[in-house]
């Protein structure tokens, strides 16, 4: 399988005042197109940091990060935003829906950055909401939906632009077992049926087991599942 994501000696150091805080210490990782990777590790090990770098919402301090051959760290801010809009779907732990927009409008949001017309947008949004089983909740606002339903709306928003890559940071962290299963089933379908490459951060081994591949981070270093081991 060809690599979609290619990470070499990737380092990230934050600064707190004058104090450097090294978080990622030379990560090497290849993720194939169509793979489904779960990223585990203790709190503070740098999982979210790594995910954010892959998603192009943060910049590495050292190393290289190629996604589909594109060196995203080198892109200027505007190009990077356009790249994210076209290539990445986001699923957050706390859903991050716009409270003033209803389910339909939330899912439609990323399409406003595309040249699609109103009718086409409607068609896409309805399909996406049907896929996550919320066709009958289109005009509900986030505060009128359960946590599980909100996360499903967020998943519909993540897949609406048909991105190659979906990143999910603890997507079930705030959900009960049943809702979590619904969300994980959806992610399975996105990977299995639609061929999306998924990188998911999770604390829960049961969740992690749903992925094809497991990567373990410890204090900024990959322990298992890095290049060469794992499956």
């Amino acid at each position: 399988m060809s690599s979609l994501i290619s990470i070499r000696s990737l380092g990230k150091t934050y600064r707190r005042g004058n104090q450097p805080v090294p978080v990622l210490l030379g990560i090497d990782l290849e993720i194939a197109a169509g793979d489904y990777v779960s990223l585990m590790g203790p709190s503070g090990s740098g999982k979210s940091t790594l995910l954010n770098l892959i998603a192009g919402i943060d910049k590495p301090t050292s190393g290289t990060l190629l996604i589909d051959g594109v060196d995203i760290a080198a892109l200027p801010e505007n190009d990077l935003a356009a790249w994210r809009a076209a290539n990445v779907g986001f699923v957050f732990q706390f859903y991050n829906l716009m409270p003033v927009l209803n389910a339909f409008e939330n899912v439609e949001l990323p399409l406003l950055l595309t040249p699609l017309g109103k009718a086409e947008r409607r068609e896409h949004v309805e399909t996406a909401l049907a896929m996550v089983g919320l066709a009958d909740r289109m005009d509900h606002y986030p505060n009128e939906l359960s946590g599980g339903q909100q996360q499903r709306v967020a998943i519909a928003r993540a897949l609406i632009t048909d991105p190659t890559l979906i990143v999910a940071d603890e997507p079930t962290g705030d959900l009960d077992r049943q809702s979590a299963d619904d969300v994980l089933n959806l992610l399975d379908r996105l990977n299995g049926e639609l061929g999306k490459t998924i990188v998911m951060v999770t604390h829960d081994p049961k969740c992690a087991a749903r992925a094809r591949r497991l990567v373990h981070l410890e204090k900024g270093v990959l322990i298992v599942g890095g290049n060469g081991d794992g499956h």
Partner: protein, 388 residues
């Protein structure tokens, strides 16, 4: 499409805190109304001075306005080169019912007064009737309305300067040629008053307060004024002649300092509400840090987020501003009728309206500057970590 979307999102955001937004809009409206009214107060003072052309001169006693001049000066003024018409008037100051029913009364020269004041428009047959009846008066439309009078009514006045009870008959009504003309005056025959007073108080007879002079060439007002005053130099009653505008500005000079203060207050009010509004917007933007970061993660630009905040701020300030503008008119009306005797005119000018709208825009823009800048600059990962 994007623009209408920004606007919808901005106005939805705006109403998330109904009370806070409502109070802010009310505050802006109050500030804009105050600004408008204060400016109109200042404008109206000066408008009084703009009433007439510099082609009209006023001659009064050099000593003070409360001194009078002999009526015989009129003939001598008429002979000064450049003078076209001369008329005269003196404050009558009678009381109608009581002091609360005040309106300005002048004893004027019936034959010439309306020739010099063409902006007091009187139907010719009414003017003729007034000239025929020595106890007749011509009254401004405003004072007619206020007292519910009609032509032919008798108006009794209790004299203050000129003792006794006087009775006048309304023979005509004048209207202003434009809305700057004072329509409140009550004009009676100087000749009649003079004749009656001669018998009881001869010292008051044959005196006038001011001569009002129309000159042939407005550009020559300085020369003609000087010629008139030099004619009376070293006489018992020296004169001071100036244009009507300067005469009124002289009045206004006394209150000039107050006007400057009023104008300053008007601008300070705007500054204060700007600070209040900036605080509101900063609070709103801070609360939405995570939403803005999410928008940016989804691919929306920093600029989009700034425009969203600017749009919300402008929606709020313009809502308040337009409410303020709308309220200015009825409030100016009410203010005018509550202070009838203070102002000749009280009109909200187009300049004031434009300044009100401009201030609203400025409030909205300034209030959004800091939060828009901060929110566009905040890094996505930091914004996403923000707790709400």
């Amino acid at each position: 499409m994007m623009a209408s979307y920004v606007f919808r999102l901005a106005s939805k955001n705006m109403w998330r805190h109904r009370l806070r937004t409502g109070l802010t809009i009310a505050g802006i409206a109050v500030a804009i109304v105050s600004f408008g009214l204060l400016r109109t107060v200042v404008d109206s003072w000066y408008a009084g001075a703009e009433l007439s052309s510099s082609a009209r001169l006023i001659t009064r006693a050099e000593a003070s306005l409360s001194f009078s001049l002999p009526v015989t000066y009129g003939e001598r003024i008429r002979r000064v080169p450049g003078v076209k018409d001369v008329t005269w008037a003196i404050w009558f100051g009678g009381i109608y019912i009581d002091e609360k029913h005040f309106f300005p009364q002048f004893a004027v020269d019936a034959e010439t007064y309306f020739d010099v004041y063409p902006e007091f428009v009187v139907p010719p047959e009414q003017l003729a009737a007034f000239k025929r009846d020595r106890r007749g008066v011509i009254v401004g439309r405003k004072t007619m309305l206020k007292n519910g009078w009609k032509i032919g009514d008798q108006v009794p006045l209790k004299g203050t300067i000129y003792p006794g009870t006087w009775s006048f008959t309304i023979r005509g009504v004048y209207q202003g040629a434009d809305d700057k003309v004072d329509e409140g005056q009550f004009l009676l025959h100087w000749g009649y008053v003079n004749e009656k007073i001669k018998a009881v108080l001869p010292s008051l007879a044959d005196r006038v307060g001011v001569f009002v002079i129309n000159i042939k060439d407005p550009g020559a007002s300085a020369a003609v004024s000087a010629a008139i005053d030099s004619g009376f130099r070293n006489s018992l009653a020296e004169t001071r002649t100036e244009t009507q505008k300067a005469f009124q500005l002289g009045f206004i000079a006394m209150v000039d300092t107050i006007l400057v203060a009023i104008q300053t207050v008007a601008y300070v009010v705007i500054l204060i509400i700007m600070a209040v509004m900036a605080n509101t917007m900063a609070m709103a933007a801070r609360e939405r840090m995570r939403e803005y970061a999410t928008l940016k993660a989804l691919g929306f630009s920093d600029r989009f987020v700034s425009i969203l905040i600017l749009g919300e701020s402008l929606s709020m300030s313009l809502a308040g501003g337009l409410l303020g503008v709308a309220l200015t008119f009825p409030l100016a009306e009410a203010f005018f009728s509550a202070t009838r005797d203070l102002f000749l005119v009280f009109t909200v000018t187009p300049v004031t309206l434009a300044l009100q709208v401009a201030s609203s825009l400025l409030i909205g823009i300034c209030a959004a500057l800091a939060p828009a800048w901060n929110s566009s600059r905040v890094r996505i990962v930091d914004g996403l970590r923000a707790v709400t």
